[in-house]
Symmetry: C2
Subunit: 686 residues, 2 copies
Amino acid sequence: DVAQDVNEGLIEEFLSEVDNVQIQENLRELTKVPHMATTAGDEQTVKLLLERWGDPESGLDQTWKEEYKVYLSFPDPKKPNKVTVVDSSNAVLYTAREKEKPYTDDQKDPAVVQPYAAYSPAGQVKGKLVYANQGKASDYQRLNQTGRNEKAINAAPFGVLGVLVYTDPLDINDGLMSDINETYPNSWYLPPSGVERGSFNTQFGDMLTPYLAAKEDTYRIPEEDITGIPPIPIQPIGFEDAYKLICELEGDPAPPEWQGARNCSYNFGGPGFKNTSAFNSSDVKLDIFNFQELKNSSNVMGVIRGSVEPDRYVIYGNHRDSWVHGAIDPSSGTSVMLEVTRVLGRMVKQGRWRPRRSIIFGSWGAEEFGLIGSAEYTEQYFTKLSERTIAYINVDIAVFANATLRASGMPSMQNVLFTAAKQVTAPGTETSVYENWLRYSNKTSPTHGEIPRMGYLTGAGSDYAAFVHYLGITSLDLSYTYDRTKTNARIYPAYHTAYDTFDYVDRFIDPGFVSHQAVARTAGNMMIRLADSLVLPLNCSDYAESLEDYLNRAVSLYEPKLKDISMEPLKQAVSSFRRAASHMDRMIHDSDLANETPMKARKINDQLMLLDRAFLDPLVFPDKYGFRHVIWASSSAGQSTFPGLADAFATANSTNDSKDWQKVHYHLSVLSQAIEGAAHILTDVI
Amino acid sequence: DVAQDVNEGLIEEFLSEVDNVQIQENLRELTKVPHMATTAGDEQTVKLLLERWGDPESGLDQTWKEEYKVYLSFPDPKKPNKVTVVDSSNAVLYTAREKEKPYTDDQKDPAVVQPYAAYSPAGQVKGKLVYANQGKASDYQRLNQTGRNEKAINAAPFGVLGVLVYTDPLDINDGLMSDINETYPNSWYLPPSGVERGSFNTQFGDMLTPYLAAKEDTYRIPEEDITGIPPIPIQPIGFEDAYKLICELEGDPAPPEWQGARNCSYNFGGPGFKNTSAFNSSDVKLDIFNFQELKNSSNVMGVIRGSVEPDRYVIYGNHRDSWVHGAIDPSSGTSVMLEVTRVLGRMVKQGRWRPRRSIIFGSWGAEEFGLIGSAEYTEQYFTKLSERTIAYINVDIAVFANATLRASGMPSMQNVLFTAAKQVTAPGTETSVYENWLRYSNKTSPTHGEIPRMGYLTGAGSDYAAFVHYLGITSLDLSYTYDRTKTNARIYPAYHTAYDTFDYVDRFIDPGFVSHQAVARTAGNMMIRLADSLVLPLNCSDYAESLEDYLNRAVSLYEPKLKDISMEPLKQAVSSFRRAASHMDRMIHDSDLANETPMKARKINDQLMLLDRAFLDPLVFPDKYGFRHVIWASSSAGQSTFPGLADAFATANSTNDSKDWQKVHYHLSVLSQAIEGAAHILTDVI
Ligand SMILES: [Ca+2]
Ligand SMILES: [Ca+2]
Ligand SMILES: [Zn+2]
Ligand SMILES: [Zn+2]
Ligand SMILES: [Zn+2]
Ligand SMILES: [Zn+2]
C-alpha cells in the first residue's frame, strides 16, 4: 500500500526476535580460522555469507558476490620479516619475535599472518636506532597528531632508513604489561608479544584504480605513480621487543610526555645504544620481504526488494576481512549483521513483512587494506547509488566494549537513531540504550536540550568513507563502546592482533553477547524505520543545528582575522538552510501525506534523501582522494568546523601569503554555494 | 490526477493558437534597439520579459530575474579601436572603417557597438602584414580546423604581434560582394563593410568564477590566471577593408584553397606589401582599446508550476543578449519563446491546463560573451537541477533560414521530436515538418529505416552547453535552417553584424514568420509532451543505437592498432546498455501504468531522466572547463565516436609513447564504466 507508514508492532517483533545466542554462534563460526582478505579463510566466510543469505527460511530475496581485482600487500611466509640487532661484524645480538606468543590454539593456527605493515616496501636496511624519529618537538607533534601511516613518510626526509612501530602499554593497556596475570588470557589487555597489524596507506580504495572499479581489464596506474604509501621499510613489533631496544638507548632522556609504561628511561638514542649496553655500537636491522599482489577480493551482496519504492535503497554494510581471526574487528559486526538479516529475512520469508523500500546488505572485502571493497562498489555503481540511496549504516566493530552506545554520522540521522535507541534496553541496566548513552556522553543542543553526543564522520576509519565522502550519502556508524572512566586504552587492546579471538570477546568484551544484541536491535530498528516510514525519518533541522555550530566556530575563529574577505555569504547560506529546514519540517507537519497524492511524500522524501548530495564538490579537494563532501571532509587543522575553510585558514594564517588568503576566500565561496544549494533542495521545489 | 497522460486535444489547441503575427510583433519589439549584454537595451529586454511573463492574462505562475556579476569585455566608445596602414614616418596611409555602413536607421543607432573581438587584450602594435599567419600548411590546417578564438592563441608563438580577421565573401556570401545590388539591403548577403563580432575565449561561463556562481562576494580568480583568451590584440574587419590590404600583399601566391572571392591574388605577404603598392614597406597598425569590466547581467526566469510532480522540471531557454540588434541571434528565438509562453500561459490562466511537471523558462544573459548566464545558472543550482531536470530545450537562433528543421541533441530526444514534428505543417508545403526535414537531411537507422538526421551536441555553441556537458541533462537544440543546395554560407551572412535586424528577417529570412511559427509549434509540442506524459517520452533504445554507432566506429578505427589493450569491456558495456534499453522498452510496453501504483511510473521516469547523469565524470577532462559528459564532450580528433578515446588515440598514435597508450586504456575504462553505469540505471532497479 502506497500510503502505509512504519508498523510499530513489526518493530517490536523484530526487537524480540533478535537473539544474543545466535550472535554468539555467528561469531564462533566466523572466527574459526583467520580470514585475512583473499585468503582461504576469507573464501570460507564468503561461502558462509552466501549460504546464510541464500537460506530459504531466513535468507534474503537475492544474494550474490562481486569480485574486484585489487592491489594488496603481504609478508612472504617463506621469508619472514626480521628485526635484529647486529654488531659491526654482522653477528646477530638480538632477534625480535616473528610471531605472537600463543596462549590458545587460535594463535597457533598456521594461517595467522606474521605481524607486518601492509604496503611497507620490501628492503633490507640497518642503522642506529633512535626513539621517535629525530626527537625534535616538531617530530613529536607530528608523531602525536598523525596516523600510523604517516610515520614513515615523515621520517624519510630526515635520513631515516626504516621505522619500527609499537604500542606502549601506557596507550593500550592502562600501563599493565605482565602476561603472568595482567594481560590476556588473564584480562583483555595486550600480551607483551602482541603486535598491531595495519595498512600503511593514506587513501582509500584500490590504489591502482582511482575512480574506476577494479575489474579484470580496468586501466591501472603504474605502481610508481602510487602516492601515500611509505617510501622506506616499516615494521610493527610488540612492546616486549620494543623495550629490549628502547631501554638500551643512549642519549638524553626524552621529555616526560615521551616516557612510557616501562620502568626505564626512554632516551632519544645516541643515535644508537648506550656503550654500557650489550648492544653498544650495534645497528638495528630490518629485513622486510613484503610483496604486492593483484588478488581477487569479493563483496557479498544481499537484497530485500522493496514493495512500493524498490528504487530507493537503505544500505547496511560491514567488512568481512580481518587481519587474523578478527573476532571484534570485523566479526562482531558481521555477527550482528547476520542476526539482523536472519530476523528480517525470516519476516520476509514468512510473509509477515516486505519493506516499502529496498534494503541492500554489503559484506565488503579487503577493508583492512584500505576500505577497498566498499570503495570499489561505490565506484562501480556511482550514479545508481547516488540517485537512489536513502542512507548507509555501517557496523564494523559492533562492540568495542560493553558500556554504552557510540554513533557518528550525519546530523540528519540523529533523530531516527534516538527513536530506535529509546526502544532498546541497555544491557545490564533497567534503562534504554538512549538513557544509558546519555549518562556516558552528552551535550546540550539549543533545540533538544541535553541529548547524547553523536559524532561526525570526518575521517575514513571504516567503510562509511566512500559513502559519506565520495557519494555524499547520509550515513551512520554504530557500535557499543567503553566506559572511559575505566580505561584510557586508545582502542581495545587486542585490536589487529592474534588475540582478537572468539575467546577474547566471549570472556572479556561482551559475555552473553548482550551488547551485540543491543547494537543489532538498534541498527535493525533504524533500518526498518528508514525502509518503511512514509516520510523518511531524516531530520534536516538537526543538520541546520550542526551547520550553525560549525558557522559559529568559524566566525569566532576566523572573522577577526579576515580583513577584506567577508563571511556574510556563509552566514546567509546557513540561515537560508535553517529557514528551508524549518519550512520543510512545517510542511511535513502540516501535511496529511497518507491521504494526499503519493507523489507528495515522494517529493519530500527525495528532498531529504538528496540533501547531502548538495554538499558534494568533486574539484574542491584535489589532493584528497575521494573526498568531495565540503562539510565532512577530513581536515588537519584540528577545529570542529568546515574542513576546507579550516585548513585554508591555518595555511594562510601561517604563511600570510596573499595567494593563501585567496584560498580562504575560495573555500568560503564553495561552502556558501553548497549550503545555499542544499537549502534550495529543501525549499519549495519550484 | 496522478494517472493522467498527455492530452492530445490540448496539443492541438496549442498548435492552433501559436500565431505567426505575434512572433513578428515580438521580434519588432525586441529589436528596436541594440541590446548587447548589460547595456541599456539589454535592460529594456529584461523589462519586456518580466512584463510578458508577469502578464495576468497570458503570463506564467512566477517570474523573476537573477543577477550575476560577470567579467565582460568592451571597446572604448571614447577611443575606438583603429586599424591603419602607416608608413615609416608614421603617416597614416589608410584607415579601416570604424563602423559598418548604414543602409537603414538601424545601423545609425548610436548604441551599435563598434566591431571588436571581445577579450582581445588592449594594445597598440604595428608590423608587416602576412596572410593567414605564417602561411605554413600546419597553420592552414589549424586555421581551418579551429574556431575563431584560437587564431590569436596559435599565432602568438610565431612572433605575431596582432591579428586581423575577416570573413571572405566566398565563405559567407556565396561569392557575392557588391552593395550596389548583390548584398543587403538588396539580398540577405553581407555588405562589404559588415563585420562579425564575437567573443574570443575558449571556455564557457564567467571566466573569473569557474564552478562558482558569480555573485557579488564570490571568490574570483586573478585575471592573470585566465586561460583561453588571446595573448595578442585581435580585431575583426569587413571584407572591403580586408581586400584593401590583402590585394597589396607581396610574396608568393597562397595556395588555391586559400584564394577568396576577390579578383586579386591572395599572396602570403613579403611579409608586408608589394613594393609596387602605395603601401610599400608600410606597417599595419592595430590600436586596440578594449577593456574588461565586471557588470551585472540578468537571467530572467519564469515558471509554470507542475500539478502532480512539481519537483520535475522541463526547461526551455534562450539567451536574450545580442551583439547589435540581434534580430536573428537571439531574438528570433526569444520571439518564439515569448509566443510559446503566451499560449501556454493563457491556457494556464484560463484554467484549461496545468502541466503534470513544472516548466521553467530561462532568458539567459551574456551568452555572446561565452554562455555566461546559463553557465552561472547551472553552477548556482547544480544539485537541484541535476536531480530534477527531465530535459532542456534550447532555441537560440530559431530561424537561420526557412527551408527545413534542424535539431541536435541526445538520441533519447529523437522520438519525441519526431512525434512533434509530424504534427506540425512545414511552412510553404503541404507536408509535415518531419516529412520536409526528411527530404533535406536523412540517414538510415538500423531500427527505424530512413529518418531525418538529428545531430549531437558535442560543442559549446549555445546555452545548451552547461546543461549537456556540465549537468548531463538530456537536451535538444532546435531551429529552422538552410536549403544547402541554395547556399554555402557558413552561417546567415548578417550573423553578429549591424545588419541582423528586423528588416533583414522580415524581408529575407522568414517573410510572414511562418518558419518561426513552425519552430514554436514543434518546440511547444515537445514541451507539453515532456511535461505531461505519464511515461516520459525519452527513448533509451535510440540512445543505444547511437552508442552502437560510436562503438562500431571506434572498433574499426582503433582496435587494429591497440595491441594489448582490449576493447572487450567497452563492447560488453554497449551491449549491456542495449539489453537494458530493450528491457526498459518492454517493461514500459507491458505495463498498464495508469492502473498500477503511481510509484511505478515515477520509477521508470526517474530511470529515463537520470540516464544521462550516468555519463558524467568530473575528473576525466581536467583541461576542458565544464566538460563532464563522456559521450558528448568536444573532441579535436574529428571522428564521430567517443571523444576522450578519439583524442587519446590520436595523441598516442602520433607519439607512440607508452604513457599516451595508457591514456587510451584509461579512456576505455572510463567509458566502459560509465556505459555500464548507465545500463544499471535502466535495468531493474534492484
Ligand atoms: Ca578503484
Ligand atoms: Ca561562474
Ligand atoms: Zn574494521
Ligand atoms: Zn581493522
Ligand atoms: Zn545566439
Ligand atoms: Zn551569437
